[in-house]
């Protein structure tokens, strides 16, 4: 997968909790059998009116967020369906990192298989970021996975946590399956033990 070491980019804000994967990528796009090309369908039912015209009221359609590569939301981001298409869509649209107060488990896992970094920050920190985005057009953050920090050019500097295995996979862009297969002998031994009971 693509690696993630350090990234600086414009922040787009979605001031909503419980953004579910049905919204991130609606079901009509799940019929595809490829992993690519989902970006144009990201948040489709929110980005576009039923007649196909752009919904100017939707956050991500604001011109100022056009080049955003970091998304900040609120709590429980990515809840609901296990569809990994949600992460593929965020990635393909151009997001390298999502910041929230909390994530749903499966979505968080799916992010870590695709090099899209999920960052959990405190409610206060997330609040501050929302305020900064509102106050300053083109507001940028730097997410540094080596130092485990999120910072801006002003005074914001927050630390975050991620388990060491996931961190290593992100930093080096490792293939989880190849890593597991390094332990094929242990899987063999486990399967042997099943036969003997």
């Amino acid at each position: 997968m693509q690696s993630f070491v350090k990234h600086t980019g414009v922040v787009a804000a979605m001031d909503r909790s419980n953004v579910d994967t049905d919204q991130i990528i609606p079901k009509q796009f799940l019929k595809r059998i490829e992993r690519t090309g989902f970006g144009e369908f990201l948040f489709f039912d929110w980005r576009f009116h039923p007649d196909g015209t752009t919904n100017e009221d939707f956050e991500l359609n604001r011109p100022r967020f056009k080049d955003a590569s970091i998304l900040v939301a609120r709590e429980n981001f990515g809840n609901g369906s296990s569809r990994e298409h949600a992460v593929w869509a965020l990635d393909d649209y151009g997001f390298r990192c999502v910041i929230a107060e909390s994530f749903a488990d499966i979505f968080y896992n799916n992010c870590s298989k695709n090099g899209v970094l999920p960052v959990v920050l405190s409610k206060d920190a997330v609040n501050r970021i929302h305020q900064s985005v509102a106050a300053e057009e083109g507001y940028q953050l730097t997410v540094d996975l080596e130092k485990l920090t999120v910072s801006d050019s002003d005074s914001l500097s927050e630390t975050f946590e991620i388990d060491s295995f996931r961190r290593q996979c992100f930093l080096e862009g490792l293939d989880h399956i190849a890593l597991t297969l390094q332990h094929a002998d242990k899987i063999d031994a486990y399967e042997q033990s099943l036969k003997s009971v």
Binding site: D15, R16, S17, N18, D20, D22, Q23, P26, K27, Q28, L30, K31, R32, I33, E34, R35, D45, P50, R74, E75, N76, N79, G80, S81, S82, R83, E84, H85, V87, S102, A104, D105, I106, N109, N110, K113, N114, D163, S164, F165, R166, D175, H176, I177, T180, L181, H183, A184, K186, I187, Y190, E191
Partner: protein, 467 residues
Amino acid sequence: MIASAPRTMFEKIWDQHVVHQEPQKQTMLYIDLHLIHEVTSPQAFEGLRLAGRKVRRPERTVATEDHNVPTSDRHLPIADPISRQQIQTLRNNCKEFGIRLYDLDNVKQGIVHVIGPELGLTQPGMTIVCGDSHTATHGAFGSLAVGIGTSEVEHVLATQTLLQTRPKTFEARFNGTLAPGVTSKDLILYLIGEIGTAGGTGYVLEYTGSAIEALSMEQRMTICNMSIEGGARAGMIAPDQKTFDYLRGREFAPKDFEAAVANWKTLSSDDGAKYDRVEIFDAADIAPQVTWGTNPGQVARVDSNVPDPAAMSDASERKSAELALEYMQLKAGQSIESIEINRVFIGSCTNSRIEDLREAAAVVKGKKVADSVHGMVVPGSGVVKKQAEEEGLDAIFQEAGFEWRDAGCSMCLAMNPDKLEPGQRCASTSNRNFEGRQGRGGLTHLVSPAMAAAAAVKGHFVDIRNW
């Protein structure tokens, strides 16, 4: 000695499946049963092909077609070419990699979480995964069943293992008994309303207590099914005599059944086992539930009113509720029973089993669906459908004015023509009331099968306890 410390059922199953563990890292767990379907598997097989990998244990993976299949006119080819290609891709992949598939022509085809138990594939003590968040359903048998993403599907296919962070344990105990007319669907909606949609995040739920023990296997599956709606990675219920009786004689039940039962009996949580979190409820407090919002935690008793966001103290809860009421076209304070519906969907992996259909049929028998309502019944599997027809339930539904369809996910996620039109309001026995879940602009209220059936007859919600 660790071995003598009391353990929860989750801990016993987890410990038994550890293949490899390094400090500070995720645990490599062995997966006993892997279920797949057409929507979340194609990219996984493609990944295997690109990397030149094989399926490690094809006999431990079982496939079905459910999410994107037509539920009527099955004798015709699938109309939508992209859907047809997705189904064909699954068939090709199963053939290429040697995986057993229950396709549309097989009477045993159905929703993956309905057929697993029905075939006896789902068994106590197993680790079970599927690229679908409602995999927790299988936990009703005392298995550890988790939903996974497509990359993890690929990982399981290639290695028969899954990397997992050890979740915390959460006991949800329901003492007492459910009142007549109150079902396991109401119990789980009530729980999600209490703990919130993220209340279980990071946990595996174990449902315990006399109210749970009193439930049938199918009712237990409804509860475990919606564990994910409370954010939990899995939900489980200890296996007991009902579990064993359910499995005995099923196609894939263990050959030496008595030996298996003896083993399964050791799985229940030990006396004195510690959970990371415990919540205790009185089942008698639970009334029939109806969701009013756009997530399953936005739920109320049928005999109450749509809540007023202005009265909510938490800012983000208030904002969610305001957005939900706007989307749902509801007014704060209006009574739940005054909400009029024009669609009814009885189906989904939550409530499409034979007992669910019996429950709904008993309500509509000899009655008519209201003129303003379009009702659909979609059995969970071909086997459920056949059984229902043998019992004459299809006739009851059709005489009442319901459509009687073939098995599949159908309007639970509305990937195909079974969907709501914008502004249509539906009483649904499924598990998600997200915006547009059942069709763009569609308005979904989650309820039990009996409540959905009663709403179909009256054209608005009614308290099934007074039926």
